[in-house]
């Protein structure tokens, strides 16, 4: 493959030329064969006529030999040379025209008159002359003889050679034209790719907003460019998200660091009593705690992104899980005189899930619901079937709801509807991201429905585990 050209357009051209060459060779072969056959057919017709002519000229000679009655003078013209041999059926030579100069026109015939050769046939004489030979059995005055007449084929072969030469001269011209034309065509067809690759080279991480030119969106190259552009758009979105994430993360990390620093610096400015120092250190430790938790959450999410968290799946009742989550955070609701109700009574709604991870997701949702709902409101965890293969777990609160413009982004990392208020409660805006990851890791989906001023509903839909249900089996005839 060392000679394989590097560029697609050269390869395409090479292909054109090779294929065209093959076609031409096949065509030339066919034409030559057709020419040969038709020339031979004409020669054979002449031969048969000649055989009949020669028959009429034969005469018996004494001693069993035969002779020709007349000799045309023009027969000396070698192009019209006619070679004649006459054999007796027993295989003895009766006559041979002098033109043959003693060379045989084939083997002696068998006694039954079979000449042993197909009729007519081509052969090469001893002196290299190619001839076409026809035989026939004939009776002169009741004496059977075998008559052989041959014509030279040299004229025929000359004609074939000339034709071949014409073809051979035309070939390179045709191939050259095909090559030049093919190259130009390939170049023209591939030109958009060149443009695209030049443009693509210029698109770097900083210039992801640029797009490739789409010539004709219907053709292959146009489609390719469109696909690239869609990919670029996704990349741009990804980079944008990463940029925002980095900015948000550093902001979140900087906030507790700033607090630690200023609390420490201020405390060192003047003498304080031990209890006062204690208080300062405690306050710094609280910030450290927040920092630690933030880093841990980030780590958990990045491990999840990298697919390093393996779910310890077990068959769980979603209702039981809902009760567990409720009992875990119920005290927080009680502090605000809120009530958490579990709505659902089918313990057979089971999912294959990692208990801790899924419970954490539910706890996060409940935690949010408690935080954002005013006092004395009701929070409902509803577990219900959602179609044939899904089960829904909804956390419904009666809080202020989430404005439309924020709804699509609440699952983004560090995204907060009201940042000042949330930070007061110690959130870093990662809770819902963790919920989303947990639900998606279980093959489910999380959605948010909200009406401003009337609360919101977070709905996890998870794949239902199929387990044999004895009750349903019994009642199968219903």
């Amino acid at each position: 493959m060392r000679f394989w050209p590097r560029h697609v357009r050269s390869r395409l051209t090479l292909w054109y030329v090779v294929v065209l060459g093959g076609v031409l060779v096949l065509y030339a072969g066919g034409a030559l064969l057709f020419l040969l056959l038709s020339l031979r057919e004409e020669l054979d017709r002449n031969l048969v006529e000649d055989v009949e002519t020669v028959e009429g000229l034969l005469a018996n000679e004494p001693g069993g030999f035969v002779s020709f009655r007349t000799m045309h003078p023009e027969e000396n013209d070698s192009s019209l040379q006619r070679f004649v041999e006459v054999w007796s059926p027993t295989g003895s030579l009766l006559y041979r025209s002098p033109l043959l100069q003693g060379q045989a026109l084939g083997r002696p015939p068998k006694p039954d008159g079979d000449t042993g050769e197909p009729e007519p046939f081509s052969q090469r004489l001893a002196n290299g002359l190619r001839v076409r030979t026809a035989s026939s059995t004939y009776h002169i005055e009741d004496r059977p003889i075998v008559l052989r007449v041959a014509h030279s084929e040299e004229g025929l072969w000359r004609e074939l050679r000339e034709f071949l030469w014409v073809l051979l001269l035309a070939f390179p011209v045709a191939l050259l034209l095909a090559g030049v034309g093919g190259y130009a065509l390939a170049r023209k067809a591939l030109a958009p790719i060149d443009t695209m690759s030049h443009r693509a080279e210029r698109i770097s991480a900083d210039r992801l907003h640029e797009r490739l030119p789409v010539g004709n969106p219907e053709d292959e190259l146009g489609k390719l460019a469109s696909v690239f552009n869609v990919m670029l758009a996704r990349l741009e979105a990804g980079f944008e998200q990463l940029r925002r994430f980095t900015a948000d993360a550093s902001h979140e990390l900087r906030t507790p660091l700033t607090a630690i620093r200023s609390v420490g610096e201020v405390a060192l400015q003047d003498q304080k009593s031990p209890p006062e120092y204690r208080d300062v250190i405690g306050s710094m430790l609280e910030e450290v705690d927040r920092l630690t938790r933030l880093v841990e959450n980030l780590l958990a999410l990045s491990r999840a992104d990298a697919g390093h968290i393996q779910l310890q799946r077990a068959d769980l009742s979603l209702l039981t899980l809902a009760h567990e989550a409720r009992s875990l955070v119920e005290v927080l609701a009680e502090e605000k005189q809120q009530r958490i109700a579990v709505d659902g009574d089918d313990p057979d709604l089971r999912v294959s899930a990692d208990r801790l991870i899924l419970r954490q997701a539910i706890v996060n949702l409940l935690d949010n619901a408690i935080k954002y709902s005013p006092v004395e409101r009701r929070i409902v965890i509803r577990v219900r079937r959602g179609g044939d293969s899904q089960v829904f777990l909804e956390v419904i609160d009666q809080g202020p709801g989430i404005p439309t413009e924020h709804r699509s982004r609440v699952f983004e990392r560090f995204y907060r509807v009201d940042s000042a208020r949330t930070r007061e409660w110690g959130g870093a805006g990662l809770g819902l991201s963790i919920v989303q990851w947990a639900v998606e890791a279980h093959g489910g989906e999380i959605t948010l429905e909200s009406e401003e001023g009337r609360g919101c509903t977070f709905r996890m839909s998870l794949p239902l585990t199929r387990i044999p249900n004895p009750k349903r089996n019994k009642g199968g005839t219903q």
């Binding site: 630690t292 780590l299 009680e334 801790l356 954490q360 935690d367 110690g426």
Partner: protein, 226 residues
């Protein structure tokens, strides 16, 4: 009780040594894996606290060599990498326990106590502190002779505090040991605070001497106010 602390970070080593000294442990600090290795072979220790990320030979290499030589001393490893593989690898190498940095100091103390107690678990059926009594079997609590009515969770919380009396317990320890919540990402801090507040209301509020103290930024401790 003699403890060997192998830790290269000077600040951390000094803080840990000071904290452990205050708890009446005798602490020797080694700053590299080689030094630690030499000290373990030269002297007798009851416990080794080993940082995994060390310059030169890392903690796990030191540990596996020591274990191959038949060292039976309990080893507690400190790892900064919060990855499951690291923990598993550490425990496979022969560590008895591990702590992920950054850890709370009370947590380290609790682990050290657990390791030195290993093999002879404390199985008191009656826990007492000051005028507080807790009956593990009957699940009854009395303060100053009067019965205090607690919920199951409050009972477990108080039992844990009594087990660790006069020792600071962090919220993280409570989340893990009382709530059995292993994931540190679960937001339980507020839940714990509410439970402590309620426990306080029942156990401390009616009495003059307060037993449950908050150590700001660290956690809680069951201790008589002086």
């Amino acid at each position: 009780m003699r403890i060997l602390l192998v830790e290269d970070e000077a600040k951390v080593a000094r803080a840990l040594k000071e904290g452990l000294d205050r708890e009446q442990y005798k602490v020797v600090v080694a700053r590299t894996g080689e030094e630690g290795f030499y000290l373990v072979n030269a002297e007798e220790f009851d416990l080794v606290i080993l940082d995994v990320m060390l310059p030169g030979r890392d903690g796990l290499q030191v540990l596996s060599t020591l274990r191959k030589r038949g060292l039976g001393t309990p080893v507690l490893i400190l790892t900064a990498r919060d990855a499951v593989e690291d923990r598993v690898q550490g425990l496979d190498t022969g560590a008895d326990d591990y702590l992920v940095k950054p850890f709370a100091f009370p947590e380290l103390l609790a682990r050290i106590r657990a390791l030195s107690r290993r093999g002879r678990p404390e199985q008191a059926l009656q826990l007492r502190y000051a005028d507080l009594e807790l009956d593990v079997v009957a699940r009854k609590v009395k303060r100053n002779g009067k019965e205090v009515d607690l919920t199951a969770r409050e009972f477990e919380l108080l039992e844990y505090l009594l087990h660790h009396r006069e020792q600071v317990v962090s919220r993280e320890m409570l989340a893990r040991d009382v709530w059995k919540e292993t994931s540190r990402a679960t937001p339980l801090d507020n839940v714990i605070d509410v439970h402590i507040a309620r426990l306080r209301r029942k156990v401390d509020d009616p009495f003059d001497r307060k037993l449950i103290q908050t150590v700001r930024g660290v956690g809680f401790v069951l201790r008589e106010e002086k």
